[in-house]
Amino acid sequence: MLELGLVAFGGALGAALRYVIGLLQVRLSDWPGWTGVLIANLIGSLLIGLAAGSADGGPWTHAFLMVGLCGALTTFSALALDLTVLIWIGAWRQLGWCLGLSLAGGIPLVVLGQALGQIWFGAAA
């Protein structure tokens, strides 16, 4: 029961945070609309790496942080919708940036987070 509560709490927080990041991106920058989701996805990728690298596998780390917060802070459906629009309007450069930054940014950030998590919160720490 605690586990489900933590997933729901993390999910609420993560989704709200992604929404606010999107609003701030529109308000503060003239970057294209898909960059809001990109920023949320990159932050969440680093964060889930940190959590995965830490030695603590408790419910706060797993259910709250990884499944709930990181899971909902990041999103795939909004990314896929952005990609579909970019494909449809033929904005190939932007499509390349969106795809490239998501993958070549997100996956290395998971690895970096994992390494930092092992150093900062690992079994030996």
Partner: protein, 172 residues
Amino acid sequence: MSPPLSTVAAVAIGGSIGALLRHGTERLAAEAGTPGWIAILLVNVVGCAAMGFSFFWLESRLRRDGGSRLGHLHVRHHLRGTRGVLEEDPTIPPPELARAQRQLAIRSGLLLTGLLGGLTTFSSFGLDVVTLAETGQFAQAGLDIVLSLGLGVMGILVGLELGRRFLRPSRS
């Protein structure tokens, strides 16, 4: 203009439901012996199809300021003449326009940004790819990337198409 708290609340409620549904799917898959990355792939693709459908639904029904992103998609041909979705509708009184925009923001927040945004995930996908690669399962890692992106975009298109076929963009 600050973000209306009701929209933030709607996003949070949707996000918690989406995260719980994803968590439940992961647990069911684990009990069935399905690899975790396949569970996340499945959740993401299903979530993308639901996103395509719901995006068409909410935008074609509630958008009144003429600025819908449906205009950047193939379904725009079927929305021609639907006032307020793809072009401005000067006959709508400003107070009604403001009310419609608020309604769209809250419902999109609950269903699209919250529920479907929270159901689907990028971070678990990324962690799965890294874990697969770290354990030497390079083919699965590559497959996860290709299938997630390919089927994700296809899911959006299928969802949009289903919406176009089965939802009437009618107005009262």
